[in-house]
Symmetry: C2
Subunit: 333 residues, 2 copies
């Protein structure tokens, strides 16, 4: 099962946890200095190591995917949007359950990612470490005793690790609490930013909290730091929800959102993401009888490119709006 079909610890607020490791092979220049054939050599070298004795993983060159298949992987947070936008020299290793994804020849030779549902930083880090050990046991990884792992961009030097949690923070978003929170975590070496959409308030009130510091800190310390700040934000959000749920206008909004999702004939992705946010609070508060993992599943599956990828059709936006409304209606019936 994929992360978006499952719930995990603190799933009322945490949608998913990701740990990503940046690694490079000492014997090759960084990808931006490689031509297509050299990239392929890197990709196949890594592939041969990681796929050996592991039939849960498969390998694909990015050029084998069409554009909406690639973007769909980005919508699922399995690859970066940049990786989806240009396939030249790039390849991907993916597990069948979509919990492991390895971007090959993105900014670094290897960007290894583990994604799990709920708050599961330790579990995700352990799994990432396992795969990292497999790489290290067979390959000559660029590592400096003083600095740590060498990466193309200096912001990743050291651990090469970026850990993040995707948080649903509708109650904190209602007030100025969220911007104060963003300023506070920045001082602690973390970033809090919208996971979907741009602008002052992210669509669906979904945020990503991630570590920024990779140099002069151990992986364990970085994970522990992120974990404890995530837990504080979770506690604050839960408290803010308690107040919100005393407001009849807010309760009304929850029920109406559910009603519209179960009845509309057409629905844009933005509207869908906003409405499902309210339903999620209602479900977590026990007002609505909907399993929270069903909502996460819909949130991922109703993204534009993912609708196209699942149907194998390049639908127009208007066509997708009808397909989306119909699928959501059926799922929530």
């Amino acid at each position: 099962m994929t992360w978006y079909q499952n719930s995990g610890k603190d799933s009322d607020i945490v949608l998913s946890t990701r740990v990503r490791l940046a690694r490079n092979l000492r014997d090759f220049p960084f990808p931006n200095r490689l031509d297509k054939n050299e990239c392929r050599k890197v990709n196949e070298t890594v592939r041969d190591v990681l796929l050996a004795g592991d039939d849960s993983l498969f390998y694909t060159e990015m050029s084998a995917l069409n554009s909406y298949q690639a973007v769909s992987l980005a919508e699922k947070h399995l690859i970066s949007p940049e990786f989806a936008s240009d396939s030249t020299g790039r390849a991907l290793i993916l597990s069948k359950d979509e919990d492991v994804s390895v971007m090959l020849c993105e900014e670094d030779h290897v960007r290894l990612q583990v994604i799990y549902p709920g708050l599961s930083l330790k579990e995700a880090f352990e799994k990432a470490e396992q795969l990292d050990s497999k790489l290290a046991s067979s390959l000559n990884i660029a590592f400096d005793d003083r600095i740590g792992y060498l990466t193309q961009c200096p912001t990743n030097l050291g651990t090469g690790m970026r850990a993040s949690v995707m948080l649903h923070l509708p109650a904190l978003s209602q007030s100025t609490a969220i911007s104060r929170l963003a300023a506070t975590v920045a001082k602690l070496g973390l970033t809090l930013r919208g996971a979907y959409g741009e602008g002052s308030r992210p669509t669906g009130d979904i945020y990503q909290l991630s570590n920024q510091v990779t140099l002069g800190i151990s992986e364990e310390a970085a994970i522990q730091n992120l974990q404890s700040i995530a837990e504080q934000i979770i506690a604050q959000e839960r408290q803010a929800r308690q107040s919100l749920l005393k407001d009849d206008v807010f309760i009304d909004k929850i029920y109406r959102s559910y009603g519209i999702l179960r009845s509309a004939h057409m629905m844009s992705c933005d509207e869908f993401t906003s409405l499902i946010s309210y339903v999620r609070i209602g479900a977590c508060a026990g007002l609505l009888d909907v399993p929270v993992e069903k909502l996460t599943y819909l949130l991922v599956k109703m993204q534009p490119a993912t609708i196209n990828a699942d149907a194998g059709e390049k639908y127009t936006s208007a066509q997708r709006d009808v397909i989306r409304a119909d699928a959501v209606k059926k799922a929530l019936e």
Copy 2:
């Protein structure tokens, strides 16, 4: 059964038909020249005639009703808003099925009204005539051979009859068609105006079409005139709906309205009236499986004073919004 629990001919567009006769007793001055005791004498004289041998009717002095009970009768179109606002010297005869109502000492001594569901001008007029004959056989009615029935206001002289149909015209309201229509029917001696709410577009797109001319025309001719113009408007509305129902945005609006009505936690009367208008089109077009008489019933029962009257409680507007949402949800489940 009341008119609002039933459907009738052309109920996809016509909610109800009313025929009202204004009559006065020759032996009394008009009500505005009567004191309270003289009014009571008029009221009881008419009561004794109409209630004789008819146990479907009952009599009440308006002072026996509290304000929301009186306003509820106006919301059901059984009495005029003016009649509801001042009880002094006034009484009401009402049938158990609410199809017959007789305002006593409103502007005229007797304002006798029959209200039926759907387009039923002839049936309503026949019933009104029966009651009128009963009055005429026992009472000395003010009548002039040259002018006809004498009424306090000269605009009612002659037949003293006002016939009207309540029309649901959402499709014609979408365009400028409705204002052209209003101008046209005015030239034909009719009035088309909003039945609920004020302003440029009536809430719920419900209109009342009524005759204006009472002098120099027979009742039958006035009824026939109103009937044929109503039929033309009905045909135009049906045609306009056909076009609207080809529009995905409009279809979406219908389904969403239904969804909101079945899910909201609070709902104002205005919003309710607007949403139920869309659901009515959807139900008439076969998109939604809701009997149209259930929608008429809700439209009447969810009016503010009627909610209070049915519960016997003087709720605040905010309390009613929750009660309304809840009742609508249950009714449409």
